[in-house]
């Protein structure tokens, strides 16, 4: 027999709705389950001016989508860096001699030249894996992990996030957490901070741990506008010093290198062993009536080392039938860390708690001009290319005596070229 019990028409309507949803939704996700991996392969070449660092970086990203919200992503990155990087010492009117990081051999820097450590060469491999999926109708989560290694640095970490959708998915709240542990084993061992560069090394390695938390809100403002606001806090503790960077000690009487027993004095840099960074980030994407997309973002960062920075970035995507063209502009301005000093003097070099001459902790402004182009083929694969020009200007204390005739803050230019293909 058919029905055992007569249902009310209202029940029938409800039960049919449920059954029909199961009928189409159930199979839809089955039939749509991607059997294939999406592949994004790219090669980036980076080159700084004046034969400083150059890098070649192949990137391979594999993504397997199970449905529109569930995916497994893995990424493999290789890096080969060659070239020279400033070692922190000031240029001088006479030739300077430094021992190479391993302690074996020395390199000379001619007069009036920014001292670069040209033994800089490294190969890095990194691997990351991420899983993101919905959890019920209103929640989504992701978990992931990364691993990277170069000959003197290893990093391993985990991350996770939880998102909550509100207002018909017009609002998304996200909480992200990540933790990583880095080990550094510099060539020649870990130097003692602020010791002279010929001092014996204490130990062979040290480590640093990093914890990050991020809270974000994404809001659909209207049919053309999407806005995102993030607050992030990051705490790192442990060894944060760059073991390959020095500071010159300058003679207060002459402005030249301070010498003891006829030898220039250089000290290893030393940074505090904890750092608390906070960032606020705002991004807006706006789609114009002609379908072009404007992307504008601003980031403010401050930390307990005294560094503050502003980043303003804008991209505009011109969209054509099979192609797009995207000019990009990024402006960055940073104020120096409290312990940043371009050099130490014969009067103060013994009384420092922390000191670093690393230009990355100094006052600086940079801008990046980029242009990206993409072509989409009929089979929905895409080839893309990007060229970006980077310019950096540093400023700071100009020194005294004969140091004033040296260029303590050379500007730097770099070019980045990326070619990629995804299918």
């Amino acid at each position: 027999m058919a029905a055992t019990k007569q249902r009310s028409p209202k029940d029938i309507a409800t039960l049919l709705a449920t059954a029909s949803c199961a009928l189409t939704a159930g199979i839809s996700s089955n039939a749509n389950a991607g059997e294939n991996w999406d592949v994004d392969s790219a090669l980036m070449v980076y080159s700084e001016s004046d034969s400083r660092v150059s890098a070649i970086e192949p990137v391979l990203e594999l993504k397997r989508k199970y449905d529109s919200e569930t995916a497994l992503t893995t990424k493999i990155v290789g890096d080969t860096l060659t070239g020279a990087s400033p070692n922190g010492a000031t240029p001088s009117d006479s030739t300077q001699t430094f021992s190479s990081p391993s302690g074996n051999g020395t390199y000379d820097v001619p007069p009036n030249t920014t001292p670069l450590d040209d033994t800089f060469r490294d190969t890095r491999g990194a691997f990351s894996i991420n899983w993101n999926a919905p959890a019920g109708r209103d929640w989504a989560y992701s978990i992931g992990s990364h691993l990277s290694a170069e000959h003197d640095y290893q990093s391993v970490g985990i991350n996770g996030s939880l998102s909550r959708y509100l207002n018909n998915k017009n609002t998304t709240l996200t909480l992200g957490l990540s933790a990583s542990n880095d080990t550094i084993n510099p060539e020649g061992g870990v130097p003692t901070g602020l010791s002279t560069i010929n001092s014996a090394r204490e130990k062979s390695d040290d480590s640093k741990s990093l914890t990050d938390a991020l809270f974000g809100v994404t809001q659909v403002i209207n049919r053309r506008t999407l806005m995102q606001f993030n607050y992030g806090v990051s705490q790192s503790s442990g060894y944060q010093t760059d073991p390959y960077k020095f500071l010159s000690v300058i003679d207060v009487n002459t402005g030249g290198n301070y010498q003891i027993a006829g030898e220039n004095q250089y000290l290893f840099e030393k940074r505090p062993d904890s750092r608390l960074k906070q960032t606020v980030y705002w991004q807006t994407k706006y789609q114009l009536t002609n379908n072009d997309i404007l992307d504008l973002s601003y980031r403010y960062m401050w930390d307990d080392w005294g560094v503050t920075s502003h980043t303003l970035e804008t991209k505009y995507r011109f969209r054509f039938d099979h192609q797009y063209l995207e000019p990009q502009l990024r402006l960055y301005q940073q104020s120096a860390a409290d312990f940043y000093q371009r050099y130490l003097t014969s009067n103060n070099y013994l009384s420092q708690d922390y000191a670093s001459a690393d230009y990355r902790l100094g006052d600086m402004t940079t801008y990046t001009l980029g242009l990206k182009y993409g072509y989409q083929f009929e089979n929905s694969s895409e080839a893309y290319g990007k060229i970006a020009l980077y310019h950096q200007d540093s400023t700071g204390n100009k020194g005294f005596g004969k140091l004033t005739s040296q260029d303590l803050y050379p500007s730097m230019d770099a070019i980045m070229v990326t070619l990629g293909y995804r299918f």
Binding site: A17, N170, R223
Partner: protein, 327 residues
């Protein structure tokens, strides 16, 4: 506006339909033939590139044609034909067919046997070209083959079925609505990953469903075809999400001795349902739900209005001269 012809691989066009036409605009339109209807898909997704628009259109058309071919009763070597080659023997059925049978089973139970997927054979007697009443004896001879309970199929073991000799499945009662929902789901999943916002409407000969992720939503203007003039609508409504399906197509009736018999057949008696109502349009969450409620409404005969009223869903029920609605 000049349409673009969509080139669809022969493997995705087993019934050899003419190429679909794509009309590109702010709201692009794909028009094609399927299940004896003119079908259209409306896509408003500004971020789509041309190739993505072509891809998503092809995806939708191919899915509709796939379902049509798979369950057509007029093809020699499809799923439907193979199901009916082996009578009186247990056979395994695929996932999709299991789901459709599961839904048909639920509808049969909920309607107390009024909706029956095995009732297709009654058309042998009540063909639309008929000019004389059939003999009761002919109906009586056919009735033993009508009834879901003839099938050896249970929802607990959905993968196997036994179809007795003389019994036939007819997916026509849900196939078109099912195709509308499937195409809508597949296309909206695609669009959700490719476009910041989209609006989508799938309309197969008046059975339609729509979806959008836009806020605030912009409704689609949907018309219900007039009883007296085809291709003209006399009821216009706005639909933001969900589906609308109509049962009781005015062109499908049998007239014998000046008396009109509707095309909705009662599987319990073998006779057309006698009813003062000629068509009903029902709005629902999915096209399958709306279509089934519309069919069940007309199956209620004189009680149609009471039935649909009590469901609480929006409806437009028409008799010859009057339209009843709860809107």
């Amino acid at each position: 506006m000049t349409p673009i012809k969509l080139h669809i691989a022969a493997s995705a066009n087993p019934s050899c339909h003419p190429s679909p036409h794509l009309y590109k605009s702010d709201t692009s339109k794909v028009v094609f033939q399927c299940m004896a209807s003119t079908c259209e898909i409306l896509i408003d997704a500004p971020q789509l590139t041309h190739s993505q628009l072509t891809e998503v259109s092809t995806l939708g058309v191919a899915e509709a044609w796939r379902i049509e071919y798979k369950y057509s009763r007029y093809v020699i070597d499809n799923t439907w034909a193979n199901l009916h080659k082996q009578h009186d023997a247990e056979q395994l059925i695929d996932q999709e067919t299991q789901s459709l049978l599961g839904f048909a089973y639920q509808a049969w139970q909920l309607s107390d046997g009024l909706f029956d997927i095995t009732s297709g054979r009654l058309r042998e007697i009540w063909s639309l070209t008929r000019t004389r009443l059939p003999k009761q004896q002919d109906i009586d001879e056919l009735m033993p083959y009508i009834g879901f309970s003839n099938l050896k199929w249970l929802p607990d073991t959905p993968e196997s079925i036994l179809i007795p000799t003389g019994v036939e499945l007819d997916f026509g009662g849900i196939g078109k609505e099912y195709a509308v929902d499937r195409v809508l789901n597949i296309l909206s999943e695609y669009l959700a990953t490719k476009s910041l916002r989209y609006r989508l409407l799938v309309n197969f000969g008046g059975d339609l469903a729509c979806k959008q992720n836009q806020c605030p939503p912009t409704p689609w203007n949907v018309g219900i075809e007039s009883l007296s003039q085809s291709h003209r609508s006399d009821i216009d409504l706005e639909l933001t999400q969900g589906a609308l399906a109509t049962s009781g197509d005015t062109k499908r009736f049998i007239e014998i001795d000046g008396k009109r018999f509707g095309h909705i057949l009662n599987p319990k008696t073998g006779w057309p349902i006698r009813s003062p109502y000629r068509s009903v349009s029902v709005a629902g969450a999915t096209c399958v739900q709306a279509g089934m409620l519309a069919t069940l409404t007309l199956l209620q005969g004189n009680q149609a209005k009471e039935f649909i009223n009590q469901t609480g869903v929006p409806y437009w029920l028409r008799s010859e001269h009057k339209t009843y609605t709860n809107q």
